[in-house]
């Protein structure tokens, strides 16, 4: 199997390898996750299943002059508590929070998959800011101490997401092409979708993909300046919602062909069956009020997966909690679902861990895998009055459910929309 994968990637980026006669089935054999609910599948699954909320006062930077003072901060373990990996302590120290979360998620996914160190494992990452926290530190020092160059060269290198990507590969002892997709808050979903494309088109047998972003002062201030942050409680799809809450985190998945997974005897966590993406040109930061692009990508993902809305058992919505996003998404889901809407369970897990920006789509993909595997619905515990545009059911209490197929939506500044569809593996 390894030889086969290596041979494929000894080829060129162009001309492309001929697509396989039949599109291969793509399965997930590893998943890693870091959020404010904890590090790893178990603590996150427990948290999302119960609808726990992980918001706390921001400690990472000064928010005393911001409107909003809370976010879903990750409690990162000290370096001594990091799992064994092929990075030295010195290398880990050079990474910022985003890089550390990314490496932790990737190593968890890698361990779970049973993949071994090898050449030519494509890595596809989604992020909006990469190591922006290092960029902020560079800027402050350059302005406040213009003759002090200490650590500036290191910051200038390590804030770049491709360097964080190289650290992921180095930590796993492998090499391969790195693609960084920065489609704003759809990045994580686009990264997983692009990985799916690579496998479906026969360009790879296996791809490691995911997304990540850390809380940073610039971005926090940016959303606060837009008055997009909730000053009360983040309540996606609630008629009285007043904004989003920010969080941070990372998630990675190991994707491979079903044939590859079966040959290895790997444990399969779920199947990625569909992906849709397009761009909404309505506005840089506002979705089309009717959600036309959202509708289009949901239909595209369903067509790819060969399913109808009647076969979707749960939607993990983008659901930021802003008036404009949720209104647009609610209209799109309601129209897409038709009569199915009345019984369709929908929730936004951003109510638990905030909006993870470039990490959101990947983290929510892993939450979908958890829900499929363990057969529960992630609730939004604080929800009072549904927005009238919601023709669907918001999940408000922890509950078990029979889930076979679920859909996850992600949208970003700039207008890129993405939808992923996962199927239970039983």
């Amino acid at each position: 199997m390894m030889g086969n994968a290596q041979a494929k990637f000894a080829l060129m980026l162009f001309p492309l390898t001929n697509s396989p006669a039949a599109r291969p089935r793509v399965v997930v054999t590893g998943a890693g996750i870091v959020t404010a609910l904890g590090g790893g599948w178990k603590s996150n699954a427990e948290g999302f299943r119960a609808g726990k909320r992980a918001f706390r006062p921001v400690t990472l930077f000064d928010v005393s002059r911001q409107r909003v003072k809370t976010a879903a901060e990750v409690e990162l373990p000290g370096l001594d508590s990091f799992p064994a990996m092929r990075l030295s302590r010195h290398q880990l120290e050079r990474l910022d929070r985003a890089g550390k979360m990314l490496v932790l998620a990737a190593n968890e996914a890698w361990q779970q998959s049973g993949w071994t160190a090898a050449e030519n494992i494509p890595l596809v990452l989604g992020t909006t800011a990469g190591g922006m926290v290092l960029g902020e530190a560079y800027y402050r020092q350059a302005l406040q101490q213009p003759e002090n160059f200490r650590q500036q060269a290191t910051r200038a290198v390590f804030y770049q997401p491709q360097v964080q990507g190289r650290m992921v590969l180095d930590s796993l002892g492998c090499n391969g092409p790195i693609s960084i997709i920065s489609n704003a808050c759809a990045s994580g979903a686009n990264a997983i979708g692009h990985a799916w494309d690579l496998i479906c088109s026969g360009q790879a047998d296996r791809v490691l993909a995911g997304g990540y972003d850390a809380l940073g002062e610039l971005v926090f201030s940016g959303f606060d300046s837009l008055q997009a942050l909730s000053t009360t409680v983040c309540r996606p799809f609630d008629a009285r919602r007043d904004g989003l809450a920010l969080g941070e985190g990372a998630a990675m998945v190991n994707l491979e062909t079903l044939d590859s997974a079966r040959r290895r005897g790997a444990e399969i966590l779920g199947e990625l069956t569909g992906y849709g993406t397009s761009i909404d040109q309505h506005h840089l930061t506002q979705p089309h009020p009717q959600g036309s692009t959202t509708l289009a990508v949901m239909r595209q993902a369903c067509a790819n997966a060969g399913v109808t809305p009647e076969q979707i058992d749960y939607i993990n919505a983008h659901g930021t909690g802003t008036v404009l996003n949720d209104g647009s998404e609610a209209l799109a889901i309601s129209e897409w679902a038709g009569q199915r809407a009345a019984t369709l369970p929908v929730s936004s897990t951003k109510a638990s861990i905030g909006h993870l920006l470039g990490g959101a789509g990947a983290v929510e993909a892993v939450i979908c895998l958890m829900a499929l595997r363990e057969q529960w619905l992630p609730p939004q515990m604080i929800f009072e009055t549904p927005d009238p545009a919601c023709k669907f059911k918001i999940v408000t209490q922890p509950q078990e459910a029979r889930l076979n197929t679920v859909l996850s939506n992600s949208f970003g500044f700039g207008g890129v929309n993405a939808a992923l569809i996962f199927r239970r593996w039983a």
Partner: protein
């Protein structure tokens, strides 16, 4: 296997606001003038930063009247101008309005001017930081604006990486065309600059002179739309790693491109730094034919410079100066990728 053609080229560089200006500057072979760049905190020191700026456009571009572009920063202006130039012939088709366009933006530093401005405002007083500036700080902003300007865009990605990622963008565009997801795809690489980029580059590559601009290729499947140029090959991404240094990656890229004849052009990425250029120079030590090195003339434009290399190579092929041209991109911290364009 689908054939992929280049339907048009676009460029904004320190030489000017179109491909002709780029071509003439490269033909002259003389490095363009350098200007000092003010850096806060160094006003009373002997230290200085240098830049090769993009000159003001000779006339105000019409696209700046588009409502989406009113508050945009220079990177969007450069990208828009290059994308419009590259797609001019395609957009003139009677059927253009019914065709599906893809946009792939490639960036290394991205929207640094507004990022610095917004962060500066945040540090001074977050309560007055401008909500109009913040959205323009994201990598995806130029992509979104260019997509709005070009209309009927159905697919758009923003790719971030070192300069060699530009060819990943071209390969992705070719993939979208091959899979019939779009009817044409414009791939642009763009950068803007300011003192902090020059400051960072000074730490990493002191002789380099920072530059800004954009370059764009419009890809299509139809030979009759080709500007006389066909994409022949893009190598695999030769990623730098613990087990493969930059020089080894550059050599692997060269080996994948195979032997070339002396009547082909090499558009390489060497500039003003012996240390930075060493890996690429070693990989192409035995190149038998002519070379063009846009960075030596235009400066270190990062992703824009990678795009200029591709534009220069395609332009030479399209104008029948060479039957083929090779592009060598050895990035700063990620990968080496090469490509070959031939006469269609």
């Amino acid at each position: 296997m689908s054939r992929i053609f280049v339907a048009g080229l676009g460029a904004v560089s320190p030489a000017g606001w179109n491909v002709t200006a780029l071509r003439e500057a490269l033909a002259q072979g003389e490095p363009l003038p350098v200007q000092p760049l003010a850096r806060p905190g160094w006003e009373n020191t002997a230290r200085s930063l240098r830049v090769r700026p993009v000159p003001p456009p000779p006339v105000r571009p019409e696209f700046l009247a588009h409502p989406r572009l009113r508050r945009t920063s220079p990177i969007t202006h450069y990208a828009a101008a290059a994308a419009l130039e590259a797609t001019a012939a395609w957009r003139a088709l009677p059927t253009a309005k019914n065709l599906r366009l893809g946009v792939i933006a490639c960036l290394q530093s991205g929207c640094v001017q507004y990022s610095c401005r917004f962060y500066d405002e945040t540090l001074k007083n977050p309560a007055t930081a401008s909500p109009l500036v913040f959205p323009e700080t994201v990598y995806a902003a130029p992509t979104s604006h260019v997509a709005a300007l070009l209309e009927n865009v159905v697919l758009a990605y923003s790719l971030v990486g070192d300069a060699a990622s530009f060819l990943q963008g071209v390969a992705l565009g070719a993939e979208w065309l091959t899979e019939n997801r779009v009817d044409a795809c414009v791939v642009f690489g763009g950068e803007e600059t300011n003192w902090i980029i020059a400051d960072a580059l000074r730490h990493l590559d002191r002789p380099a002179i920072v530059a800004a601009g954009a370059g764009a290729l419009c890809l299509c499947r139809e030979g009759q739309l080709a500007a006389g140029i066909e994409l022949a090959a893009i190598t695999d991404a030769q990623t730098f790693s613990i087990s493969r240094n930059r020089e080894q990656a550059a050599l692997a890229m060269r080996q994948q491109l195979g032997k070339n004849s002396a009547d082909e052009l090499l558009a390489d990425g060497t500039g003003d730094s012996a240390h930075t250029d060493a890996a690429e120079l070693a990989a192409w030590r035995d190149w038998p034919g002519p070379r063009v090195s846009p960075k030596r003339i235009l400066g270190e434009g990062m992703m824009a410079a990678a795009a200029w290399q591709c534009v220069a190579a395609c332009d030479a092929v399209g104008r029948n100066q060479f039957k083929a041209a090779t592009v060598s991109l050895v990035g700063s911290n990620q990968q080496a990728i090469g490509a070959r364009f031939v006469r269609a």
